[in-house]
């Protein structure tokens, strides 16, 4: 009885607000259709897909800069803010460079390499850098610092040549 009364109440409320349901319906249709098809988000229709994917295995491409003592320093640690200070364009360029090398796409490789070289030149002047492909289980990496796969893809120079 109470359920019937409540459903009637909901129906009354829907009738009162049915004209206003158009906007949310259009919003959800645009945002989720884009998300489902894997397309770029259309501003300002966000699908609100945040922290939804539980990472089982992560593949990451990271650029490391050679240090004078022979060590390697990740690109995001070159500024004081860490990853928060790394421009998204540079973060993406690492992935684009790695994928271009794997797919043997020379044009995309050159574009991404130029972006990274310019950033490194502006940040550290000159030197050598290394692009690595890293595959890992995030929890294991955080706890034990172990990569499942660690592969060197490309060594390149930036700024003026050190040779």
């Amino acid at each position: 009885m109470a359920a019937t009364e409540y459903s009637r109440k909901l129906a009354r409320r829907f009738r009162r607000y049915r004209n206003w349901t158009i906007l949310p319906a259009v919003y959800v249709a645009i945002a989720w259709s884009n998300w489902a098809l894997g397309r770029v988000e259309i501003y300002p229709f966000a699908p609100w897909a945040m922290f939804n994917d539980v990472p089982n295995s992560v593949t990451r491409f990271t650029v490391y800069v050679d240090e004078r003592d022979g060590g390697l320093r990740p690109i995001w640690s070159l500024n004081a803010k860490g990853i928060n200070g790394l421009p998204l364009k540079i973060y993406r360029a690492q992935t684009e460079l790695g994928r271009a090398i794997e797919h043997r796409n020379a044009d995309e490789e050159q574009v991404a390499l130029r972006v990274l070289s310019d950033y490194l030149k502006a940040t550290c002047g000159k030197g050598q850098a290394l692009l690595k492909k890293e595959v890992f289980d995030p929890a294991n990496l955080f706890r034990d610092g172990v990569f499942d796969v660690e592969e060197q893809l490309l060594r390149f120079e930036f700024g003026e040549s050190t040779e």
Partner: protein, 285 residues
């Protein structure tokens, strides 16, 4: 007339007027929040003089070039600040419409600079919906009702966004489950999400490391956040649970900030104003 004289809410018309007056204050508080947000945006003022300004444009900013973008950005930020301030003071429809248009462009340019900032979308959509509010200095009963309904739509839109976030998590879990992968129902799920996020940076959040080493606690938080997000869909039609949902969402934002170092102060303020401050104790809508 003292709108708050009738403490027992015996008179429904008086109750409606009380509710209307309360909503007008909340709307002003929302525009004060927008003003504060635009004021904080002024911190990037040096970039207004940096030409060329490289953009990765969203569709709304395709007409901007790298030389015109800084000027348009400066104009939209400053005028959005002024208009939002005026809207918090003067309840004029044309001011709200102008503020919504300027905010749309302001956020579009900000999103074109780097990445789309979802924290601002709630502010933008609420400002767009509130542009349809009638002037609040009117005594006609029908206009008061229309005012409340537009405001109700703005609240529902915010709840819809959070509901969508919960819905996306459930849909993703179904897809990942069908692939045989770990989903958010796995006790390790929250630790995996947190550690993957922290691996992108230096892992310096306050509670992130502790949560990864205590995955069950983190998982409880993840399940609670999914429940709260899905409850938002119920809260669209049920006003009674809105304060509870709002408190849950604010708690979720604070927790995410402490664990993953991702802060959404605008959203916390938006929830506090739109859902908590606007809650009507004896609402019978």
């Amino acid at each position: 007339m003292n709108y708050f004289q009738d403490q027992n809410n015996a008179n429904p018309l008086l109750r409606q007027t009380q509710s209307f007056v309360q909503t007008t204050f909340v709307v002003r508080a929302f525009y004060a929040l927008l003003t504060a947000h635009c004021f904080v945006s002024l911190r990037d003022w040096q970039l207004w003089f940096a030409t060329p300004l490289n953009l990765k444009p969203v569709w709304a900013t395709f007409w901007l070039t790298s030389t015109t973008a800084p000027t348009i950005w400066a104009i939209t930020t400053v005028f959005a600040l002024i208009l939002c301030g005026l809207c918090a003071w003067l309840p004029k429809t044309h001011l709200r419409i102008a503020a919504a248009i300027l905010l749309f462009m302001h956020f579009a340019i900000e999103d074109s600079r780097d990445t789309i900032r979802h924290g601002e979308h709630g502010l933008l959509w609420v400002s767009v919906i509130l542009a349809f509010l009638p002037n609040d200095r009117c005594s006609e009963r029908r206009r008061q009702v229309r005012y409340q309904r537009v405001f109700y739509l703005a609240q529902s839109m915010i709840l819809l966004f959070y509901g969508m976030a919960g819905g996306v998590k459930v849909l993703t879990a179904i897809v990942q489950g069908m692939r045989g992968e770990r989903t958010f129902l796995n006790p390790d799920a929250a630790a995996l999400v947190i550690s993957e996020w922290l691996q992108r940076g230096e892992g310096t959040s306050l509670l992130g490391s502790w949560m990864i080493h205590h995955p069950i606690v983190a998982w409880g938080g993840l399940l609670a956040s999914v429940v709260v997000e899905l409850a938002c869909l119920i809260a669209i039609v049920s006003h009674r649970i809105r304060p509870l949902v709002a408190v849950g969402l604010i708690g979720m934002h604070v927790s995410i900030g402490l664990i993953m170092d991702v802060w959404f102060p605008e959203n916390v303020a938006l929830l506090a104003i739109l859902l908590l401050a606007a809650h009507k104790k004896n609402s019978r809508r």
